[in-house]
């Protein structure tokens, strides 16, 4: 497993170095970058941990970096550093899914708390993402007809209703359900519903 790392991104070399010192002293694994580009080149979808990024940087600023990360599939939580309270930017960053804000001149415990929260969130998020990936893999083995039947079942229809809706016999429905249970290893309808939700399936219906 990859070690969770705190990625510090700030154009101010001195600040990056000082922050890295604090975070290292607090026991985190730290990697420092002096630009968003440099960070994006080093990180990938497999990178774990969190990003501590300056909101205001020449070239790629904090918000742009966040957008680039999403595009590249780098899904670590971001803690933004801001020089001063800048409400419109803050709101935008929140909407884009930033975890936290820390003022550059705030005492260290605020920074450390924010980093801890971000790391915890990264763990739970990546956990959830792994599970969902596993479920999606299993769901992929279903035939199109089984997939259809599953959708109706998850929505709460009885076998008889599913049969009527899809224009097949109740017996055939039961056959498909047996196959689904076998492939997914789940028996109850409730469990099936939870599973599909975790995989992000049928949510629009």
């Amino acid at each position: 497993m990859i070690t969770p790392t705190v990625h510090v991104v700030d154009d101010d070399e001195s600040y990056v170095r000082a922050s890295a010192r604090v975070l290292s002293s607090a026991g985190f694994v730290v990697r420092a970058f002096t630009s968003g580009k440099e960070f994006l080149a080093a990180a990938g979808p497999d990178s774990r941990g969190c990003v501590v990024a300056d909101l205001e940087m020449p070239g790629l600023d904090g918000l742009a970096l966040q957008a680039e990360m999403v595009r590249a599939g780098v899904l670590m939580p971001v803690v933004f550093l801001s020089g001063h309270g800048d409400i419109p930017r803050t709101v935008r960053a929140m909407q884009e899914g930033a975890v936290d804000f820390v003022e550059k001149t705030a005492p260290k415990h605020k920074l450390l708390d924010a980093v801890r929260r971000a790391l915890a969130r990264d763990v739970s998020e990546s956990d959830r993402r792994l599970k969902a990936a596993a479920v999606r893999e299993r769901l992929a083995s279903l035939t199109p007809r089984e997939h259809e039947v599953l959708g109706e079942v998850v929505r709460g229809l009885l076998n008889k209703q599913v049969a009527a809706k899809l224009g097949i016999s109740e017996r055939t429905v039961k056959m498909h359900r047996t196959s689904i249970t076998r492939k997914l290893g789940v028996h109850s309808t409730a469990r099936l519903a939870v599973l599909t939700r975790e995989a992000g399936l049928f949510e629009a219906g």
Partner: protein, 615 residues
């Protein structure tokens, strides 16, 4: 004579009618002294009446001596008649030749004198007998046998001169003039000429004994008399028409003035009286019956503005110039109205009284709109500065938070490291070095900002002190007037020009003047005083003082008010005095303040004298 004489009645009637007409012309002349033709006609009428009387006398003479006496006394009125006709033609037609006029009058004068030297009169050497003749059905006296004077031809020449004079004037008028002039030439000139010709020809015939009839000058005079009556009635008609036109014009003018909300006024400087239209009285809140006395009008003017108004009007009157005064009018309990009076003087001529005529306009609304605009502009300028400052602050915050944040983190890291069992000394050294470097960075940011805030010193040139004061007065003049502040300035003579940046120094004085005006705002309107003074300072430098009679500076604040962002005003930024002091110091001078004797404050900008030896 028992029965009524027709001749007496006729002659008397004609004489009376002529006198009446003459009297009317006299009245007209008295109303308008420039109408000298009217006076001349009065003289003519008098002369004619005299002639008629002597004629009547002659016609009723009972002895040759009496007849001769009557003819003798006929001459003074004839002289009067001649003078009257000459003068009338001269003034009424305006084309008579002066030398001809004087010759005619002179000849007649000579004859008049001669007449009273000779016996029985000028015309005759001897009158032997008289006869009676029936004239208009009654007996009248005529001369029967007489010897005509040898010099009678002089009388003929005098009559001819008069005829030539009238003819010449009429012809000249006819030639030069338009239709109206031609009418006048034909009517007045023609009738006068005809009268002179007929009357003198007839008289000559009698005098030379060619006709045995009474001397009759009166009947032909009916010709010019009729012409004058006609002319006068035409004048009356014209007066009526002009009066109507005048009234129409006045109505039009008042309508136009009313539409433009202009009041019309006229001030007679000698009688100190005012004529004004309804609109003008309305602007002054004056009732119809109040108009007239200038003092009534002045009472409505704000006491502070009265002296200025009168002074300006007098100035216009004396110089014959135009004037424009803005003043306030008391409106009972309401806020005073602001009024603009514009006028032009009609200088005192020999007959015309001195007057100033003009228009009056209530400009309160306009002025308050202007004031609002100015206020808005001030606010905009202020908010502009605030905005600039907030931008500066924002950039300052970002720039400074970098090194400060780094220093904090490094210190924290150092603290954490020192808590470990074996601190890494090399790392700690690196941290301290980083901290020192970031501290320097922070200082650089602050220095940069400071230099940005500080005005870059402009070109230093010799600035004339009085010019500097004039610049400031020009800038604050309008503002001061609208705020009711009286600004004075005094400059000692022979002050040396001060080396400096004229714009920056103006800004300092402007700032001080505006502060002073703010300081006196709470005082009554007639007691708001600000004085700009330039005098010799220490070591040959110049002191520029701005003093006011406001509240003064509270004790203990003399130093604080120069600190940036310190302000006592709700709308102030607290930068004015700080920047001003900065400018003073960049000129090698000082800016200080103290309270003056009158309870107000005095700010002293000291600028040193230019150094004689410049490196």
């Amino acid at each position: 004579m028992g029965k009524l004489s027709l001749v007496t009645v006729l002659w008397s009637t004609v004489a009376a009618a002529t006198l009446l007409l003459g009297f009317l012309h006299l009245l007209r002349w008295m109303a308008d002294r420039r109408a000298r033709a009217d006076l001349a006609f009065m003289v003519t009428a008098l002369g004619f009446a005299g002639v008629a009387f002597t004629e009547l006398w002659a016609m009723h003479a009972t002895t040759p001596e009496e007849w001769g006496l009557a003819v003798r006394w006929c001459h003074p009125p004839i002289f009067l008649l001649t003078v009257g006709i000459v003068a009338f033609v001269h003034f009424h037609l305006g084309t008579g030749r002066a030398w001809l006029a004087w010759t005619t009058v002179g000849a007649r004068g000579v004859i008049l004198v001669w007449n009273f030297v000779a016996w029985p009169n000028f015309n005759f050497e001897r009158i032997d007998s008289i006869a009676s003749l029936s004239f208009l059905g009654e007996p009248v006296t005529v001369v029967a046998a007489a010897v005509t004077s040898r010099w009678q031809f002089l009388g003929t020449i005098a009559s001819l001169l008069l005829a030539i004079y009238v003819l010449d004037a009429s012809v000249r008028l006819w030639r030069t003039g338009g239709r109206e002039q031609r009418d006048r030439a034909a009517l007045i000139g023609g009738s006068m000429l005809l009268f002179v010709l007929v009357a003198s020809a007839y008289a000559q015939l009698v005098i030379f004994g060619l006709m045995r009839v009474p001397i009759l000058i009166t009947p032909p005079f009916l010709l010019p008399l009729g012409a004058m009556c006609f002319e006068m009635s035409r004048d009356l008609l014209r007066v009526g028409r002009l009066t109507r036109e005048l009234r129409d014009n006045q109505r039009r003018l008042e309508m136009a003035a009313g539409a433009a909300e202009l009041g019309l006024w006229e001030w007679d400087g000698r009688a100190n009286r005012v004529w004004a239209t309804h609109q003008a009285r309305a602007i002054f809140n004056l009732a119809e019956e109040d108009q007239g006395d200038f003092r009534h009008w002045l009472e409505r003017v704000h006491p502070d503005d009265r002296a200025r108004l009168v002074q300006e009007m007098r100035r216009a009157l004396d110089s014959g110039d135009e004037c424009a005064v803005e003043f306030r009018i008391l409106a009972g309990g309401a806020a005073p109205r602001i009024v603009l009076a514009r006028g032009r003087a009609e200088p005192a001529g020999p007959e015309q009284p001195a007057q100033v005529r003009g228009v009056l306009r209530d400009i309160t609304a306009q002025r308050s709109a202007q004031d609002e605009t100015q206020e808005l502009r001030r606010e905009l300028a202020h908010s502009g500065r605030v905005w600039l400052l907030s931008q500066l602050t924002s950039s300052l915050a970002h720039e400074i938070s970098q090194p400060l944040g780094a220093i904090l983190r490094n210190a924290e890291a150092a603290g954490m490291m020192l808590e470990t069992a074996q601190p890494d000394h090399e790392e700690l050294k690196a941290i301290v070095a980083d901290i020192l470097r970031d501290d320097r960075r922070a200082r650089e940011v602050i220095d940069r900002l400071r230099s940005m805030l500080k005005r870059r010193a402009g070109e230093h040139t010799p600035v004339p002190v009085d010019g500097l004061l004039q610049d400031v007065l020009a800038l604050v003049g309008a503002d001061a007037a609208s705020r009711g502040v009286w600004i004075e300035h005094v400059a000692s003579p022979h002050l040396p020009p001060v080396p400096g940046d004229r714009v920056a120094l103006t800004q300092v004085l402007l700032n001080l003047a505006l502060n002073a005006m703010d300081a006196v705002a709470d005082r009554p309107a007639d007691q708001r005083r600000v004085l700009l003074k330039a005098e010799t300072g220490r070591e040959g430098g110049v002191d520029l003082c701005v003093s006011d009679n406001g509240q003064g500076i509270p004790a203990g604040l003399e130093r604080r008010i120069f600190e940036p962002f310190y302000t006592t005003k709700s709308s102030g930024m607290g930068l004015g005095l700080a920047i001003s002091r900065g400018i003073a110091e960049s000129h090698g001078g000082t800016l200080t303040c103290e309270n003056n004797g009158q309870g107000g404050a005095v700010f002293r900008l000291f600028l040193p004298a230019p150094r004689e030896t410049s490196p």
